[in-house]
């Protein structure tokens, strides 16, 4: 297992980073475009004082982000398409999507 984890950890440069902010239980930007077939690093900054859970069925991602904290979430490589995500703790307002081109 360990050998595999070491072997699978990429030695190449860090994937490109894209920033998403959570403010007043809204995602900014609510729509983010990323390149297709490329691994990217989402830096999700929770600017609210309360925790949020970044969640996406389509991306298979879920991560709790405490108030004032930044979470790193790796995404992709993905085929072109639209991938909605939402904040599980405030799903009425915290809605967004990744557009992969």
């Amino acid at each position: 297992m360990l050998a595999c984890l070491l072997a699978c950890t990429p030695l190449a440069a860090q994937p490109p980073t894209y920033d998403i902010r959570i403010r007043d239980h809204l995602f900014e930007p609510a729509e983010l475009t990323i390149p297709a077939n490329t691994k990217v690093r989402l830096a999700v900054h929770n600017l609210d004082p309360t925790p949020e859970e970044f969640e996406s069925w389509e991306l298979n991602r879920e991560k709790v982000i405490l108030g004032g904290q930044t979470a790193i979430i790796f995404v992709g490589p993905l085929p072109p398409g639209e991938y909605p995500f939402f904040g599980e703790f405030n799903p009425k307002t915290a809605q967004g999507r990744l557009v992969v081109r």
Binding site: E53, W57, E58, N60, K63, Q69, A71, I72, F74, F89
Partner: protein, 269 residues
């Protein structure tokens, strides 16, 4: 500000469902093994304490391993739940026709305490967001009680459903469900390790969200019970399958051990 009533029902129900189904199946196994359920309350209390501690420490934990401590610790907890479930299967099947193994209630308690720590910490964090909003607290409490109530009702339903069969059928179904719940732990752990970039991400092997969306009620129920994913990756499917085979292999080996124990006991001195 919106009322948190409906949101809190959903958030709490999703987390509670995951451990209430595990508790039900373990209680059925315990009942088949003529084991008293005295382990359950201490296990739930230990899990709640663990959930509070983990939730309160998540800020530090999140920064571990270059910012993926959340994923790594949660995946670790889930793998430990799987290990406990496999230990339950082994001990239970091996001593099926005898006194239950003394370690059996301990590993059952361990599985539940770890699962409650993992799922409960998210409820703890969700609820902590309402500290500065006293006017929302009544709705939050009603929603949480409803979520807990529905989650445990579904668990109770599964419990009585399983006990309604003939003994041998209940036994086979319970071992099978334990293996599937354990595999669900690997499914979630794999997803978290991919998210942390500890395992490579790849295209999903299939997409069944057209006929059973993960966010639907049945999708959520199957997610909690057997780790259903609409778009699973190859690592997820591979480790899911391997973990089922290992759990069933342990069950088969334990059954052989149990059969030999009976055989040797019946042999004249």
């Amino acid at each position: 500000m919106n009322s948190p009533l409906l949101d809190s029902v959903i958030v709490v129900l999703r987390e509670v469902l995951e451990f209430s189904l595990l508790v039900s199946v373990l209680l059925v196994a315990g009942r088949c093994a003529a084991l008293r359920a005295r382990w359950l309350v201490p296990a739930l209390l230990a899990g709640l304490a663990g959930a509070g501690l983990y939730g309160a420490r998540l800020r530090q934990v999140s920064t571990w391993f270059d910012g993926v401590g959340y994923e790594v610790v949660n995946a670790g907890l889930q793998i430990l739940v799987y290990v406990s479930i496999v230990a339950v299967i082994g001990l239970w099947v091996r001593t099926r026709h005898r006194e239950p193994a003394p370690a059996l209630p301990w590993v059952m308690a361990g599985a539940v305490a770890l699962a409650v720590t993992r799922e409960g910490s998210e409820i703890f964090l969700y609820v902590s967001a309402f500290i500065g909003r006293p006017r929302a607290v009544p709705d939050l409490l009603i929603g949480s009680v409803l979520g807990i109530g529905v989650g445990f009702s579904i668990g109770a339903l599964l419990y009585y459903l399983l006990l309604g069969f003939q003994r041998a059928v209940t036994f086979a179904l319970t071992v099978g469900l334990l293996a599937l719940i354990g595999a669900g732990m690997w499914s979630q752990a794999t997803m978290l390790l991919v998210q942390a970039d500890w395992l490579p991400d790849s295209q999903p092997l299939w997409n069944s969200s057209g006929w059973l969306p993960e966010g639907s009620l049945l999708g959520q129920l199957l997610y909690a019970l057997i780790g259903y994913e609409a778009t699973p990756g190859p690592w997820q499917v591979g480790l899911y399958g391997a973990s089922i085979l290992l759990a069933l292999g342990v069950a088969a080996a334990a059954a052989r051990g149990s059969g030999m124990a009976i055989h040797s006991r019946r042999r004249p001195p």
